[in-house]
């Protein structure tokens, strides 16, 4: 159980694909113009990651070392193509919005990196969980980025939701005469906001470190002074 917890924690925070490993940045930045796009792509990514990790973990015994990369890529590409076809068939509007970024999940470094670093060495259950958690780690970041960019950029949230659920519609979060800050929607804004997110993570990490250090170096001191001699 502990191992699973660690896998989850790695995926969600410690080894977070984006914030810690700086992988999978392209879809992250390109598709996070609003929350709905972001989450959609995130879900597609999770799906691919789980399937890929599962498949490769299952097949790892049959893959010789020299051609492991082509084979991994072959498998991932096949999975991505299937997801792509599904999007085209069932979420056509979204398919048009996400454009080449669905096929590009293939090259999302994080998929291949995980497959190579984890699934190729671990069991089925752990690998699938790793795929899931890495994916969730990706999706929360891209969703956060999407939400922030959408709010700052145009003052709305969930705009474009009708592409997925035709009955719903986005909400205007800021006053209607909010002029919008276009930069947030454009590439520069994506970089800026991601930079701030990373700095935020650094800040949290350093605070955690500090707390740990305090625990290590102060608590014993405190207990010594308070404990009876």
């Amino acid at each position: 159980m502990n191992a699973y917890k660690e896998i989850s924690w790695n995926g969600l925070w410690k080894q977070n694909s984006v914030l810690a490993q700086m992988l999978g940045l392209c879809p992250l930045l390109a598709i996070s113009t609003n929350l709905v796009n972001a989450v959609s792509l995130g879900l597609a990514t999770i799906l691919v990651m789980m399937l890929a990790n599962f498949a490769i973990s299952a097949l790892r015994a049959f893959i010789p070392y020299e051609i492991r990369i082509p084979v991994f890529i072959l498998i991932i590409a096949a999975l991505v193509t299937m997801v792509d076809l599904m999007f085209n068939a069932f979420l056509h509007d979204l398919y048009l919005v996400l454009g080449i970024f669905i096929p590009l999940i293939v090259t999302n470094c994080i998929v291949l990196a995980r497959v190579e670093a984890f699934a190729a060495k671990n069991g089925l259950r752990a690998s699938t969980l790793d795929g899931l958690m890495m994916g969730v780690g990706f999706i929360w970041v891209i969703a956060l980025l999407g939400a922030v960019r959408e709010i700052i950029g145009q003052g709305t949230l969930f705009s474009g939701i009708e592409m997925v659920f035709p009955t719903l519609s986005g909400i205007q979060l800021l006053p209607a005469d909010y002029p919008g800050f276009l930069i947030a929607m454009l590439p520069p804004g994506a970089f800026f906001i991601l930079g701030l997110l990373i700095a935020g993570r650094n800040w949290l990490e350093s605070r955690a470190n500090q707390r740990m250090r305090d625990k290590l170096f102060h608590d014993p001191g405190a207990s010594v002074s308070s404990s009876p001699a």
Binding site: F62, P64, V71, M82
Partner: protein, 234 residues
Amino acid sequence: MSEPIEVAPRESSVLRISARTAGIMLIFALVFTALMAGTYRATAPYVAASALAEKLRLIGEVLPQELYDNDLTADALILPPQDMLGLDEETRIWRARKLGAPVALVLEAAAADGYSGRIGLIMAVGSDGKLIALRVTSHKETPGLGDYINLKKDRNKTRPWITQFNNLGFDTVAQKSWRVKKDGGHFDQMSGATISARAVTNASGRALAWTLERSDRLFTLPANSRYTEEGKPQ
């Protein structure tokens, strides 16, 4: 499968290794291609349906469903690239009829002189010579400034800019007034972003004129045939 793996690479010849890897690649390729092909087969009808729906939705924006009763996709002309319409690739003209009588032509056009390049348009021209409605299908105008030509992006929700073309024809607005006010014409523009408005207005005027000149022929050519200019050989 497991047998070749046990062969230590040092002992095997280059050829054998090549053959072995090729074999494994082959198997993986076959299995996964089969999977993909299966998915493709399974989703193909849905994909086609989605594409069709997309087209119909676009048409629906300029031409209300109630106005016609024929199957537009079956009653279309193939239109080769047309300079007058600003089109540099093959498009289609859909012909709407009600009870067999011509109702409207739906066609695409483009303005090449937008602020940031091409603006794609779709429009429905009624058999009475009026422009039923006009929409922008694609553009690269500056977000927040020139993008009001897109109905969805227009901040004026009560009377979006693009709707002022609804149901106008050269009878109500003379062809030489089919311009933005800034150029001495009939149509409003958004101050500070005249270029986009001018491009759309001028392109729509040209397209309307083009259509009206040959509207009869457009309605009468056989379905799914290729449109050619009169007098020119096929």
